[in-house]
Symmetry: C2
Subunit: 217 residues, 2 copies
DNA sequence: ACAATTTGTGACGTATAGTTCACATACTGC
DNA sequence: GCAGTATGTGAACTATACGTCACAAATTGT
Protein backbone atom coordinates (compact mmCIF):
# COMPACT_ATOMS: atom_id res chain seq x y z
CA UNK A 1 0.00 0.00 0.00
CA UNK A 2 1.11 3.53 -0.72
CA UNK A 3 2.84 4.57 2.43
CA UNK A 4 3.88 7.75 0.71
CA UNK A 5 0.52 9.41 1.18
CA UNK A 6 1.60 12.56 -0.57
CA UNK A 7 -1.30 14.70 -1.57
CA UNK A 8 -1.32 16.31 -4.99
CA UNK A 9 -0.40 19.49 -3.28
CA UNK A 10 2.56 17.88 -1.54
CA UNK A 11 3.78 16.26 -4.73
CA UNK A 12 3.52 19.62 -6.44
CA UNK A 13 5.46 21.18 -3.66
CA UNK A 14 8.18 18.56 -3.93
CA UNK A 15 8.35 19.22 -7.64
CA UNK A 16 8.73 22.94 -7.05
CA UNK A 17 11.48 22.21 -4.61
CA UNK A 18 13.25 20.12 -7.23
CA UNK A 19 13.01 22.88 -9.79
CA UNK A 20 14.46 25.38 -7.39
CA UNK A 21 17.29 23.06 -6.44
CA UNK A 22 18.05 22.25 -10.06
CA UNK A 23 18.12 25.89 -11.04
CA UNK A 24 20.29 26.71 -8.06
CA UNK A 25 22.67 23.85 -8.84
CA UNK A 26 23.26 25.12 -12.33
CA UNK A 27 23.95 28.61 -11.09
CA UNK A 28 26.16 27.55 -8.21
CA UNK A 29 28.27 25.19 -10.28
CA UNK A 30 28.70 27.84 -12.93
CA UNK A 31 29.42 30.79 -10.67
CA UNK A 32 30.10 29.68 -7.13
CA UNK A 33 28.20 30.38 -3.97
CA UNK A 34 29.06 34.03 -3.51
CA UNK A 35 28.45 35.00 -7.09
CA UNK A 36 24.89 33.74 -7.25
CA UNK A 37 22.03 35.83 -5.87
CA UNK A 38 18.68 34.71 -4.62
CA UNK A 39 17.18 36.88 -7.34
CA UNK A 40 19.01 34.89 -9.99
CA UNK A 41 17.80 31.63 -8.50
CA UNK A 42 14.27 33.03 -8.40
CA UNK A 43 14.51 34.11 -12.03
CA UNK A 44 15.93 30.84 -13.30
CA UNK A 45 13.50 28.68 -11.35
CA UNK A 46 10.62 30.97 -12.37
CA UNK A 47 9.50 31.54 -8.82
CA UNK A 48 9.47 34.68 -6.78
CA UNK A 49 11.99 35.49 -4.11
CA UNK A 50 9.39 35.00 -1.42
CA UNK A 51 8.66 31.49 -2.59
CA UNK A 52 12.29 30.50 -2.23
CA UNK A 53 12.04 31.53 1.38
CA UNK A 54 8.96 29.38 1.79
CA UNK A 55 11.03 26.37 0.83
CA UNK A 56 14.36 27.22 2.39
CA UNK A 57 15.25 29.11 5.51
CA UNK A 58 17.82 31.21 3.70
CA UNK A 59 20.44 31.11 0.99
CA UNK A 60 22.85 29.03 3.00
CA UNK A 61 20.14 26.52 3.79
CA UNK A 62 19.35 26.20 0.10
CA UNK A 63 22.96 25.65 -0.81
CA UNK A 64 23.36 23.30 2.07
CA UNK A 65 20.40 21.16 0.99
CA UNK A 66 21.83 21.02 -2.48
CA UNK A 67 25.29 19.89 -1.50
CA UNK A 68 23.98 17.42 1.04
CA UNK A 69 21.68 15.88 -1.52
CA UNK A 70 24.46 15.44 -4.06
CA UNK A 71 26.82 14.10 -1.44
CA UNK A 72 24.30 11.50 -0.42
CA UNK A 73 23.69 10.56 -4.03
CA UNK A 74 27.41 10.14 -4.64
CA UNK A 75 28.17 8.41 -1.38
CA UNK A 76 25.23 6.05 -1.77
CA UNK A 77 26.35 4.97 -5.20
CA UNK A 78 29.93 4.46 -4.10
CA UNK A 79 28.91 2.65 -0.97
CA UNK A 80 26.98 0.12 -2.99
CA UNK A 81 29.93 -0.35 -5.34
CA UNK A 82 32.28 -1.05 -2.46
CA UNK A 83 29.74 -3.34 -0.81
CA UNK A 84 29.58 -5.68 -3.77
CA UNK A 85 30.75 -9.25 -3.63
CA UNK A 86 33.77 -8.92 -5.87
CA UNK A 87 37.53 -8.82 -5.92
CA UNK A 88 39.07 -5.94 -3.96
CA UNK A 89 40.73 -4.45 -7.01
CA UNK A 90 37.57 -4.93 -8.99
CA UNK A 91 35.56 -2.99 -6.43
CA UNK A 92 38.13 -0.22 -6.42
CA UNK A 93 38.03 -0.11 -10.18
CA UNK A 94 34.28 0.35 -10.10
CA UNK A 95 34.66 2.97 -7.41
CA UNK A 96 36.97 4.85 -9.71
CA UNK A 97 34.89 4.63 -12.85
CA UNK A 98 31.79 5.51 -10.86
CA UNK A 99 33.52 8.63 -9.63
CA UNK A 100 34.63 9.58 -13.10
CA UNK A 101 31.16 9.06 -14.51
CA UNK A 102 29.53 10.98 -11.69
CA UNK A 103 31.66 14.05 -12.19
CA UNK A 104 31.33 13.71 -15.91
CA UNK A 105 27.57 13.82 -15.57
CA UNK A 106 27.51 16.51 -12.92
CA UNK A 107 30.33 18.23 -14.68
CA UNK A 108 31.56 21.10 -12.62
CA UNK A 109 29.93 19.89 -9.45
CA UNK A 110 33.31 18.69 -8.37
CA UNK A 111 34.41 22.29 -7.94
CA UNK A 112 31.76 22.66 -5.30
CA UNK A 113 32.77 19.44 -3.61
CA UNK A 114 36.33 20.62 -3.47
CA UNK A 115 35.34 24.08 -2.39
CA UNK A 116 33.40 22.45 0.41
CA UNK A 117 35.89 19.87 1.55
CA UNK A 118 39.10 21.81 1.00
CA UNK A 119 38.34 25.27 -0.21
CA UNK A 120 37.55 28.59 1.27
CA UNK A 121 33.83 28.44 2.00
CA UNK A 122 34.56 29.37 5.54
CA UNK A 123 31.20 30.67 6.55
CA UNK A 124 29.49 27.57 5.37
CA UNK A 125 31.98 25.03 6.58
CA UNK A 126 30.67 24.99 10.10
CA UNK A 127 27.32 23.58 9.06
CA UNK A 128 28.51 21.57 6.11
CA UNK A 129 31.25 19.91 8.07
CA UNK A 130 28.55 18.47 10.25
CA UNK A 131 26.35 17.08 7.51
CA UNK A 132 27.72 16.73 4.00
CA UNK A 133 31.14 16.14 5.34
CA UNK A 134 29.93 13.49 7.73
CA UNK A 135 28.50 11.61 4.76
CA UNK A 136 31.77 11.86 2.89
CA UNK A 137 33.74 10.76 5.91
CA UNK A 138 31.63 7.66 6.21
CA UNK A 139 32.40 6.89 2.61
CA UNK A 140 36.09 7.42 3.26
CA UNK A 141 35.92 4.93 6.08
CA UNK A 142 34.27 2.42 3.80
CA UNK A 143 37.02 2.87 1.24
CA UNK A 144 39.59 2.43 3.96
CA UNK A 145 37.92 -0.80 5.05
CA UNK A 146 38.23 -2.15 1.53
CA UNK A 147 41.87 -1.11 1.52
CA UNK A 148 42.36 -2.91 4.80
CA UNK A 149 40.87 -6.00 3.28
CA UNK A 150 43.29 -5.63 0.39
CA UNK A 151 46.21 -5.46 2.79
CA UNK A 152 45.01 -8.49 4.71
CA UNK A 153 44.62 -10.45 1.52
CA UNK A 154 48.18 -9.45 0.58
CA UNK A 155 46.97 -7.69 -2.51
CA UNK A 156 48.38 -4.46 -1.18
CA UNK A 157 51.63 -3.93 0.63
CA UNK A 158 51.57 -3.44 4.37
CA UNK A 159 50.50 0.21 4.22
CA UNK A 160 48.09 2.17 6.36
CA UNK A 161 44.62 1.73 4.78
CA UNK A 162 43.98 5.42 5.34
CA UNK A 163 47.09 6.27 3.39
CA UNK A 164 45.96 4.02 0.57
CA UNK A 165 42.61 5.76 0.60
CA UNK A 166 44.27 9.15 0.46
CA UNK A 167 46.47 8.02 -2.37
CA UNK A 168 43.55 6.79 -4.43
CA UNK A 169 41.56 9.93 -3.86
CA UNK A 170 44.49 12.22 -4.51
CA UNK A 171 45.23 10.47 -7.78
CA UNK A 172 41.66 10.60 -9.03
CA UNK A 173 41.20 14.21 -8.06
CA UNK A 174 44.36 15.29 -9.81
CA UNK A 175 43.39 13.49 -13.00
CA UNK A 176 39.82 14.73 -12.86
CA UNK A 177 40.89 18.32 -12.52
CA UNK A 178 43.40 18.04 -15.28
CA UNK A 179 40.79 16.47 -17.46
CA UNK A 180 38.43 19.33 -16.69
CA UNK A 181 41.00 21.93 -17.64
CA UNK A 182 42.51 20.08 -20.58
CA UNK A 183 40.06 17.51 -21.91
CA UNK A 184 42.14 17.21 -25.06
CA UNK A 185 44.91 15.69 -22.97
CA UNK A 186 42.80 12.54 -22.70
CA UNK A 187 41.72 11.66 -26.24
CA UNK A 188 40.14 8.39 -25.09
CA UNK A 189 38.44 10.07 -22.17
CA UNK A 190 39.47 9.67 -18.58
CA UNK A 191 39.95 5.98 -17.94
CA UNK A 192 39.69 4.38 -14.52
CA UNK A 193 42.33 1.85 -15.53
CA UNK A 194 44.89 4.55 -16.13
CA UNK A 195 44.50 5.80 -12.59
CA UNK A 196 44.26 2.32 -11.15
CA UNK A 197 47.45 1.37 -12.95
CA UNK A 198 49.44 4.15 -11.31
CA UNK A 199 47.77 3.48 -7.99
CA UNK A 200 48.64 -0.19 -8.00
CA UNK A 201 52.02 -0.28 -9.73
CA UNK A 202 53.42 3.15 -8.99
CA UNK A 203 55.72 5.09 -11.24
CA UNK A 204 58.98 3.18 -11.21
CA UNK A 205 60.04 0.42 -13.52
CA UNK A 206 59.53 -2.89 -11.80
CA UNK A 207 63.11 -4.07 -12.29
CA UNK A 208 64.79 -0.94 -10.93
CA UNK A 209 63.65 -0.68 -7.33
CA UNK A 210 63.10 2.70 -5.75
CA UNK A 211 65.47 1.89 -2.93
CA UNK A 212 67.98 4.73 -2.87
CA UNK A 213 65.71 7.73 -2.56
CA UNK A 214 63.02 6.17 -0.42
CA UNK A 215 65.63 5.00 2.06
CA UNK A 216 66.87 8.47 2.77
CA UNK A 217 65.83 10.62 5.71
CA UNK B 1 76.72 50.91 -7.92
CA UNK B 2 73.36 50.93 -6.29
CA UNK B 3 70.99 50.25 -9.15
CA UNK B 4 68.18 50.07 -6.64
CA UNK B 5 68.01 53.84 -6.23
CA UNK B 6 65.11 53.65 -3.85
CA UNK B 7 64.65 56.84 -1.93
CA UNK B 8 63.86 56.69 1.74
CA UNK B 9 60.30 57.53 0.75
CA UNK B 10 60.17 54.65 -1.69
CA UNK B 11 61.57 52.21 0.79
CA UNK B 12 59.01 53.38 3.30
CA UNK B 13 56.32 52.88 0.74
CA UNK B 14 57.50 49.38 0.00
CA UNK B 15 57.47 48.63 3.70
CA UNK B 16 53.92 49.91 4.02
CA UNK B 17 52.95 47.72 1.12
CA UNK B 18 54.47 44.72 2.86
CA UNK B 19 52.57 45.43 6.03
CA UNK B 20 49.31 45.67 4.16
CA UNK B 21 49.98 42.47 2.27
CA UNK B 22 50.98 40.62 5.43
CA UNK B 23 47.88 41.75 7.26
CA UNK B 24 45.72 40.82 4.32
CA UNK B 25 47.36 37.41 4.00
CA UNK B 26 46.57 36.57 7.59
CA UNK B 27 42.97 37.59 7.17
CA UNK B 28 42.47 35.88 3.83
CA UNK B 29 44.01 32.61 4.93
CA UNK B 30 41.93 32.63 8.07
CA UNK B 31 38.62 33.65 6.54
CA UNK B 32 38.72 33.42 2.77
CA UNK B 33 38.38 36.15 0.20
CA UNK B 34 34.70 36.91 0.54
CA UNK B 35 34.69 36.99 4.31
CA UNK B 36 37.37 39.64 4.65
CA UNK B 37 36.52 43.31 4.29
CA UNK B 38 38.76 46.15 3.26
CA UNK B 39 37.93 47.72 6.60
CA UNK B 40 39.34 44.70 8.38
CA UNK B 41 42.51 44.85 6.34
CA UNK B 42 42.79 48.55 7.07
CA UNK B 43 42.34 47.94 10.78
CA UNK B 44 44.83 45.11 10.98
CA UNK B 45 47.46 46.85 8.91
CA UNK B 46 46.88 50.08 10.85
CA UNK B 47 46.26 52.14 7.77
CA UNK B 48 43.13 53.88 6.62
CA UNK B 49 40.88 52.57 3.92
CA UNK B 50 41.97 55.32 1.57
CA UNK B 51 45.61 54.31 1.92
CA UNK B 52 44.85 50.77 0.81
CA UNK B 53 43.44 52.25 -2.35
CA UNK B 54 46.61 54.26 -2.86
CA UNK B 55 48.53 51.01 -3.00
CA UNK B 56 46.06 48.73 -4.74
CA UNK B 57 43.47 49.42 -7.38
CA UNK B 58 40.80 47.51 -5.46
CA UNK B 59 40.22 44.50 -3.27
CA UNK B 60 40.69 42.03 -6.06
CA UNK B 61 43.95 43.65 -7.06
CA UNK B 62 45.20 43.37 -3.50
CA UNK B 63 44.29 39.71 -3.29
CA UNK B 64 45.75 39.13 -6.69
CA UNK B 65 49.08 40.69 -5.75
CA UNK B 66 49.16 38.52 -2.67
CA UNK B 67 48.54 35.25 -4.41
CA UNK B 68 50.88 36.06 -7.26
CA UNK B 69 53.65 36.90 -4.82
CA UNK B 70 53.25 33.65 -2.94
CA UNK B 71 53.01 31.65 -6.14
CA UNK B 72 56.24 33.15 -7.37
CA UNK B 73 57.92 32.43 -4.05
CA UNK B 74 56.78 28.82 -4.16
CA UNK B 75 57.48 28.26 -7.82
CA UNK B 76 60.90 29.88 -7.58
CA UNK B 77 61.92 27.63 -4.74
CA UNK B 78 60.67 24.49 -6.47
CA UNK B 79 62.21 25.47 -9.77
CA UNK B 80 65.62 25.71 -8.15
CA UNK B 81 65.13 22.34 -6.48
CA UNK B 82 64.28 20.67 -9.78
CA UNK B 83 67.14 22.44 -11.53
CA UNK B 84 69.76 20.94 -9.23
CA UNK B 85 72.40 18.57 -10.45
CA UNK B 86 71.15 15.45 -8.71
CA UNK B 87 69.45 12.16 -9.23
CA UNK B 88 65.92 12.40 -10.64
CA UNK B 89 64.35 10.76 -7.60
CA UNK B 90 66.48 12.87 -5.32
CA UNK B 91 65.21 16.05 -7.00
CA UNK B 92 61.64 14.84 -6.72
CA UNK B 93 62.18 14.05 -3.08
CA UNK B 94 63.41 17.57 -2.45
CA UNK B 95 60.49 18.93 -4.42
CA UNK B 96 58.17 17.03 -2.13
CA UNK B 97 59.77 18.00 1.14
CA UNK B 98 60.02 21.60 -0.05
CA UNK B 99 56.31 21.58 -0.72
CA UNK B 100 55.51 20.10 2.64
CA UNK B 101 57.69 22.62 4.42
CA UNK B 102 56.26 25.54 2.45
CA UNK B 103 52.69 24.71 3.35
CA UNK B 104 53.72 23.92 6.88
CA UNK B 105 55.21 27.40 7.19
CA UNK B 106 52.42 29.13 5.34
CA UNK B 107 49.93 26.84 6.98
CA UNK B 108 46.52 27.52 5.62
CA UNK B 109 47.82 29.25 2.53
CA UNK B 110 47.26 26.02 0.69
CA UNK B 111 43.51 26.55 0.98
CA UNK B 112 43.90 29.70 -1.05
CA UNK B 113 46.05 27.94 -3.63
CA UNK B 114 43.43 25.26 -3.99
CA UNK B 115 40.62 27.77 -4.04
CA UNK B 116 42.45 29.50 -6.86
CA UNK B 117 43.45 26.54 -8.95
CA UNK B 118 40.47 24.32 -8.37
CA UNK B 119 37.93 26.04 -6.22
CA UNK B 120 35.13 28.45 -6.64
CA UNK B 121 36.78 31.87 -6.86
CA UNK B 122 35.02 32.35 -10.12
CA UNK B 123 35.16 36.09 -10.30
CA UNK B 124 38.84 36.11 -9.71
CA UNK B 125 39.82 33.22 -11.87
CA UNK B 126 39.84 35.24 -15.03
CA UNK B 127 42.72 37.41 -13.89
CA UNK B 128 44.45 34.86 -11.74
CA UNK B 129 44.40 32.23 -14.42
CA UNK B 130 46.46 34.59 -16.51
CA UNK B 131 49.09 35.39 -13.89
CA UNK B 132 49.41 33.22 -10.83
CA UNK B 133 48.28 30.24 -12.77
CA UNK B 134 50.75 30.89 -15.53
CA UNK B 135 53.51 30.73 -12.94
CA UNK B 136 52.19 27.46 -11.60
CA UNK B 137 51.84 26.02 -15.08
CA UNK B 138 55.46 26.78 -15.81
CA UNK B 139 56.38 24.90 -12.67
CA UNK B 140 54.22 21.99 -13.73
CA UNK B 141 56.05 21.86 -17.02
CA UNK B 142 59.35 21.82 -15.21
CA UNK B 143 58.17 18.91 -13.07
CA UNK B 144 57.01 17.14 -16.19
CA UNK B 145 60.43 17.62 -17.78
CA UNK B 146 62.06 15.96 -14.79
CA UNK B 147 59.55 13.13 -15.10
CA UNK B 148 60.41 12.80 -18.77
CA UNK B 149 64.05 12.55 -17.84
CA UNK B 150 63.13 9.82 -15.38
CA UNK B 151 61.31 7.89 -18.07
CA UNK B 152 64.23 8.24 -20.48
CA UNK B 153 66.64 7.04 -17.84
CA UNK B 154 64.36 4.05 -17.27
CA UNK B 155 63.81 5.04 -13.67
CA UNK B 156 60.12 5.36 -14.39
CA UNK B 157 57.94 3.16 -16.50
CA UNK B 158 56.92 4.36 -19.93
CA UNK B 159 54.20 6.67 -18.70
CA UNK B 160 53.17 10.10 -19.89
CA UNK B 161 55.31 12.61 -17.93
CA UNK B 162 52.24 14.76 -17.45
CA UNK B 163 50.45 11.84 -15.84
CA UNK B 164 53.38 11.28 -13.55
CA UNK B 165 53.28 14.93 -12.60
CA UNK B 166 49.58 14.74 -11.88
CA UNK B 167 50.08 11.64 -9.80
CA UNK B 168 52.76 13.25 -7.69
CA UNK B 169 50.73 16.39 -7.14
CA UNK B 170 47.55 14.50 -6.41
CA UNK B 171 49.29 12.36 -3.84
CA UNK B 172 50.93 15.26 -2.05
CA UNK B 173 47.77 17.32 -2.01
CA UNK B 174 45.73 14.51 -0.56
CA UNK B 175 48.25 13.87 2.19
CA UNK B 176 48.69 17.56 2.92
CA UNK B 177 44.98 18.10 3.34
CA UNK B 178 44.57 15.07 5.48
CA UNK B 179 47.45 16.23 7.61
CA UNK B 180 45.80 19.63 7.96
CA UNK B 181 42.53 18.13 9.11
CA UNK B 182 43.98 15.33 11.20
CA UNK B 183 47.53 16.19 12.22
CA UNK B 184 47.40 13.43 14.84
CA UNK B 185 47.22 10.89 12.01
CA UNK B 186 50.89 11.63 11.31
CA UNK B 187 52.69 11.40 14.64
CA UNK B 188 56.10 11.80 12.98
CA UNK B 189 54.89 14.69 10.86
CA UNK B 190 54.22 14.47 7.18
CA UNK B 191 57.21 12.79 5.57
CA UNK B 192 58.17 13.24 1.94
CA UNK B 193 59.41 9.68 1.87
CA UNK B 194 56.02 8.28 2.71
CA UNK B 195 54.52 10.01 -0.31
CA UNK B 196 57.48 9.21 -2.51
CA UNK B 197 57.22 5.57 -1.53
CA UNK B 198 53.64 5.29 -2.72
CA UNK B 199 54.42 7.34 -5.79
CA UNK B 200 57.29 5.13 -6.84
CA UNK B 201 56.19 1.67 -5.73
CA UNK B 202 52.42 1.94 -5.83
CA UNK B 203 50.05 0.10 -3.56
CA UNK B 204 50.35 -3.51 -4.57
CA UNK B 205 52.72 -6.11 -3.22
CA UNK B 206 55.62 -6.48 -5.59
CA UNK B 207 55.21 -10.24 -5.98
CA UNK B 208 51.52 -10.16 -6.79
CA UNK B 209 51.28 -8.20 -10.01
CA UNK B 210 48.32 -5.91 -10.61
CA UNK B 211 47.62 -7.57 -13.91
CA UNK B 212 44.00 -8.72 -13.72
CA UNK B 213 42.26 -5.45 -12.91
CA UNK B 214 44.50 -3.16 -14.89
CA UNK B 215 44.03 -5.28 -17.96
CA UNK B 216 40.30 -4.89 -17.95
CA UNK B 217 38.42 -2.38 -20.05
C1' DA C 1 -20.71 30.12 -4.41
C1' DC C 2 -18.45 31.84 -0.48
C1' DA C 3 -15.39 31.94 3.44
C1' DA C 4 -11.13 30.23 5.26
C1' DT C 5 -6.75 28.84 4.69
C1' DT C 6 -2.78 28.01 2.39
C1' DT C 7 0.55 29.41 -0.88
C1' DG C 8 2.81 32.75 -4.20
C1' DT C 9 4.43 37.50 -5.08
C1' DG C 10 7.80 41.23 -5.53
C1' DA C 11 8.45 45.95 -3.87
C1' DC C 12 10.75 47.48 -0.02
C1' DG C 13 13.66 47.57 4.38
C1' DT C 14 18.03 46.91 6.09
C1' DA C 15 22.61 45.74 6.34
C1' DT C 16 26.90 45.34 4.56
C1' DA C 17 30.93 46.27 2.10
C1' DG C 18 33.58 48.24 -1.86
C1' DT C 19 35.02 52.60 -3.33
C1' DT C 20 35.53 57.73 -3.57
C1' DC C 21 36.87 62.32 -2.43
C1' DA C 22 37.39 66.56 0.01
C1' DC C 23 40.29 67.56 3.50
C1' DA C 24 44.28 67.03 6.87
C1' DT C 25 48.87 65.97 7.46
C1' DA C 26 53.65 65.23 6.33
C1' DC C 27 57.39 65.92 3.51
C1' DT C 28 60.49 68.47 -0.02
C1' DG C 29 62.92 72.05 -2.11
C1' DC C 30 63.75 76.95 -1.88
C1' DG D 1 59.93 79.32 7.58
C1' DC D 2 56.95 78.76 3.54
C1' DA D 3 54.82 77.37 -0.87
C1' DG D 4 53.96 73.24 -3.30
C1' DT D 5 53.57 68.56 -3.74
C1' DA D 6 52.74 63.99 -2.23
C1' DT D 7 50.64 61.07 0.85
C1' DG D 8 47.29 59.61 4.57
C1' DT D 9 42.52 59.85 6.36
C1' DG D 10 37.81 58.27 7.22
C1' DA D 11 33.11 59.96 6.74
C1' DA D 12 30.03 59.45 3.24
C1' DC D 13 28.39 57.58 -1.12
C1' DT D 14 26.78 53.85 -3.84
C1' DA D 15 25.77 49.40 -5.07
C1' DT D 16 24.35 45.09 -4.10
C1' DA D 17 21.94 41.46 -2.12
C1' DC D 18 19.71 39.03 1.70
C1' DG D 19 15.53 38.62 3.79
C1' DT D 20 10.56 40.47 5.09
C1' DC D 21 5.86 41.34 4.81
C1' DA D 22 1.57 43.16 3.38
C1' DC D 23 -1.02 41.82 -0.22
C1' DA D 24 -2.76 38.77 -4.21
C1' DA D 25 -3.96 34.42 -6.05
C1' DA D 26 -5.24 29.91 -5.65
C1' DT D 27 -7.00 26.06 -3.35
C1' DT D 28 -9.95 23.69 -0.10
C1' DG D 29 -13.97 22.71 2.66
C1' DT D 30 -18.79 23.59 3.36
Amino acid sequence: MREKKLSRRERLKAGYCREILDAALELFTANGYHNVTMHQIAMKSEFSIGTLYNFFKNKEDLYHSLVLEKCKEYAGMQFRALQKDADVLERIREFLSNGIRFFLDNTSLIRIFIAETRGESFNLRSKLRNDARRVMNELDEKVASVMREGVQKKIFRRLDPVHLTLALQGLSEAFLFHWMDYPEAFPDGLQADMILDIFTRGSTAQTAAAGPAAGRG
